[in-house]
């Protein structure tokens, strides 16, 4: 059957296949140990130079484009917070029209890049419109689980019980009251050709997913949800960014999976984690993070129940669409 039902075509097999070229930085003003900065570096390595990046307002935008400097080695545009997907749609449609009329012959792919605030909350309407209209754009969500550059305010992507400045911790309110929005299910419900989760701790998996996503853009939109910890916002040491991202996968908090033409697939190491005993204890992920330092035993239990019920949901997806 080829691509539709088979495994993804692995372009990058080992660490030595990772391209040497750099299209982002150095000299960007991201904090020391920035997860999103690493995500962008990996995404552009995989995508190569023939892309146009459309960025929503957010950490990466304010830190990479401090006038008169830019950290970008590829064409880049920022318009506003809510409309990265709309701008990307316009660019994709313009390229199509110019190519059709023979005015230009542009091969460049369009990548929209937004944080959790610009995706879960502010950019949701533009994103849904782009997916519904079927624009051939790769939309990348880099998720650091709060509005970090404005000083750590909670977003729809912030997990339950996490401390932020707008979900404070007291005796009655114990961090964020609500659960993290299931963005992947929302995106998959638009029936686009390709959607996947990825993590900065698994860059080879991330880069192969970027390549696969760019491959399907002739058919329609692709979506990548990239987990990217934030040391100042999560109250972790600068050196622990990758370690925490890895623990999020190993404890089952952030499973790696992909939705490819209606088929659901868990990726290593998450493909082992349907069996709960193969997941590391949740406390390993929570303990190093200051934003979860206030958690009592029953709250950790409640979080664990939430992770388990998400895995139950994924298992049922796997049964139905695997």
């Amino acid at each position: 059957m080829g691509m539709a039902s088979g495994q993804i075509k692995v372009g990058i097999r080992t660490i030595w296949d990772v391209p040497k070229e750099e299209y982002f930085g150095p000299g960007q003003l991201t904090c020391a140990g920035c997860g999103p900065s690493l995500a962008v570096r990996h995404i552009l390595k995989a995508a190569g130079p023939d892309v146009i990046v459309v960025n929503a307002t957010g950490c990466i935008e304010v830190t990479s484009t401090q006038y008169p400097y830019t950290a970008w080695g590829v064409p880049y545009i920022h318009v506003a917070f809510e409309n990265a997907a709309a701008v990307a749609s316009g660019i994709e449609a313009a390229i199509k029209a110019l190519n059709r009329k023979g005015i230009a012959n542009v091969k460049a792919k369009v990548i929209a890049l937004a944080g959790d605030g610009g995706t879960y909350d502010i950019g949701m309407q533009a994103l849904s419109g782009m997916l519904e209209r079927g624009h051939g754009v790769l939309y990348v969500l880099y998720d650091n689980e709060a509005y970090m550059n404005t000083g750590i305010q909670r977003s729809g992507g912030t997990p339950r019980f996490a401390w932020t400045t707008t979900s404070p911790v007291g005796s009655r309110v114990r961090g964020k009251v609500q659960s993290k929005k299931d963005i992947m299910s929302i995106v998959i419900a638009h029936h686009i050709p390709y959607a996947a989760t990825a993590s900065i701790a698994y860059p080879i998996d991330l880069m192969n997913k970027v390549r696969r996503a760019l491959e399907v853009l002739d058919e329609g939109p692709a979506f990548l949800h990239v987990f990217a910890p934030c040391p100042p916002g999560w109250r972790i040491d600068d050196s622990k960014t990758v370690e925490i991202a890895r623990l999020a996968v190993e404890t089952g908090v952030f499973p790696l999976f992909e939705w490819d033409h209606g088929r659901f697939r868990l990726n290593p190491p998450s493909n082992m984690h349907v069996d709960k005993s193969k997941r590391k204890p949740l406390i390993n992920y929570l303990k190093p993070q200051g934003r979860f330092a206030h958690l009592k035993e029953e709250e950790i239990k409640a979080m664990e129940t939430e992770v388990d019920s998400y895995w139950d949901y994924l298992t049922r997806l796997l049964k139905a669409f695997g």
């Binding site: 660490i15 040497k20 990479s64 008169p68």
Partner: protein, 105 residues
């Protein structure tokens, strides 16, 4: 910071026409700890290079012979102009060949 340009020297629309000119920001001045690679212990696995967010680790085609007589064609070096001293490289190094040393003026 380079000298600010006047409005007549700025391209129409305020476009930045020079890709990656952020290299003029020497973010290495932020550092409070510096990573130091022990070239004899380093196994050239490329992991520090892969996980550096800046990037501030250089992969150089520079031969090196360890004290134990092992010959490598590659050498990884820290680019202290941009390294912010986060320590991800030291944390991820599988053979603990990178030490974080306090910056002293």
């Amino acid at each position: 910071m380079s000298e600010l340009r006047s409005w007549t020297q700025i391209p129409i629309g305020g476009y930045i026409t020079e890709p990656q000119n952020s290299v003029k920001n020497k973010t290495g001045s932020w550092r409070t700890q510096r990573p130091v690679i022990d070239q004899d212990a380093c196994t050239r696995c490329r992991i520090c290079w892969l996980y550096c967010p800046e990037p501030a680790i250089l992969e150089l085609n520079k031969p090196y012979v360890t004290k134990g007589g092992r010959k490598y064609n590659l050498t990884f070096e820290i680019n202290y102009d941009y390294c912010k001293g986060c320590g991800i490289c030291a944390n991820e190094c599988p053979v603990k060949a990178i030490k974080m040393v306090p910056e002293v003026v």
